[in-house]
Symmetry: C3
Subunit: 148 residues, 3 copies
C-alpha cells in the first residue's frame, strides 16, 4: 500500500472500522475457542487461504475447514491454549463492493500450567465480501515475519 | 458466546465500541501507573473480581482496592514496570442496561534496565454498568490461558 | 493524565478515535515497511522526537528522517523484520486545535528464519496537529518501560 492509499485522507468511516474490528475479534475468537468449523464458515465457499509456508494455497471452504480442524486437534492433543490478536488494521475499498483489510496478527500459545509464548508476527491481507450484516473472507494472504 | 451472539450482525455501534475501547485504555492505565485506588474506583461498591487462581473472589470495592494496593506495592518494591493491553473486544447488551464485554488481555513487565517479559494471556469477561457518561465494572471474570 | 482528564466522560468522538487508530496503523506501517522517508514526512518540519535514551531530542523533520534512515539501514543489514503495535490509545484536545495522544507501543523483531522477540514496551505521547484530512506529529515523547 502506498502513502496515498492508506493515509488519513482515506481513513475508513468509523462505523465500518469498528465493525471490522469486531469481525476480527469474533472470527479469531472462534479459532481460539477450538471451533474450527464455525471459523471455516467465515470464509466464502470458494475462499482461499495462502501462506508462504504452504506449497499450495488452501482452496475452498472445505479444504480450509479440514486444515483448521487438524490444527485444532493437534494443539488440543498437545495441551496448548492459543490466542490470536489482530491489530493495526487498515481498510480500503476493493473492486465490486469488497473490502481490502490489512492487519498485523500475533499468535501466542500457553501450555497448561506453563509459560506464555508469543511465537509469530504475521501480516494478514484479506479480501472481505459483504455477507448479510457482516463479511466473509474470500481470500487471506498471510506473510510471516520470519519467512524471507 | 455463540456465533449468533457475537457475529457481525450484532456488532456494537461504533460510538459505543470506541468509548469502551477508551474506557479500558484509561482503566488499565490507572493500574499501570500504580494508582490502585483510582483503579478500584472503576468498580461498583459491590463489584466482584474473580480469577481461578484465587480461592475466593474479591467481593466489594474495598477488597478490590486493598488487593490492588498490595499488588502495586509488591511490584514497586520489586522494581517492575507493568503494562496491560486489552484487545479483541466484543460487546453485547446484558440485562438491565448492562454491557457484557469480552476481551483478551496481555500482561507484561519490565525490570529497570532489564528485558520485557510478556508473561500472561488472559480472557477478561466484564459486566459493565452505566455510570455518568461511562461505566463501572460490576463483575470481572479472568481466565488465564495457563489455568486448566 | 488525571482520572478527570482521561475518563469516559471525555472519551473522544468515535469518528475521531477511529481515524487516529488508522493514522497510527498507517504511520507505524511505513516504518515497518522500511520507508523511513515517508515515515519522517508524518512529522512537522519543526517536529521533535524525544526518548530518554538519547542525549538530545531529534529536532526537525530532516534530523528525524536521517535517524530513521540509519535505523532502517541497520536493521535491513542485520536481516531483521520489525513490527510496531500501537494500542490502548487515549485522546484529549490540546491547545490551538492540537490533539494529545497517549498510547502504548510494542516493538518486536524477527530475524529471517528465526524467532519473534517482543523486545520493548513504550509509552508514546504525541502532539498531533491537523494537516489536510489527517495529522502530522509535532512532538513525540517516548518512555521505555526499562528506562528508570
Amino acid at each position: 500500500m502506498t502513502t496515498t492509499e492508506t493515509g488519513a485522507a482515506t481513513a475508513a468511516d468509523a462505523a465500518l472500522y469498528a465493525r471490522v474490528q469486531q469481525f476480527y475479534a469474533w472470527q479469531m475468537g472462534l479459532m481460539d475457542d477450538d471451533d474450527a468449523e464455525a471459523w471455516a464458515d467465515t470464509f466464502t465457499e470458494d475462499g482461499e487461504f495462502r501462506e508462504p509456508s504452504r506449497m499450495e494455497p488452501l482452496a475452498g471452504r472445505a479444504a480450509i475447514r479440514s486444515s483448521a480442524r487438524a490444527n485444532v486437534d493437534r494443539r488440543v492433543a498437545a495441551g496448548l491454549r492459543i490466542r490470536h490478536w489482530v491489530g493495526m488494521l487498515q481498510l480500503r475499498p476493493g473492486p465490486d463492493g469488497t473490502l481490502l483489510a490489512r492487519s498485523y496478527a500475533l499468535a501466542m500459545r500457553t501450555p497448561a500450567g506453563g509459560a506464555l509464548e508469543v511465537f509469530a508476527s504475521v501480516v494478514c491481507r484479506d479480501v472481505l465480501v459483504p455477507h448479510g450484516d457482516g463479511w466473509l473472507v474470500r481470500r487471506r494472504d498471510l506473510t510471516h515475519d520470519a519467512a524471507r
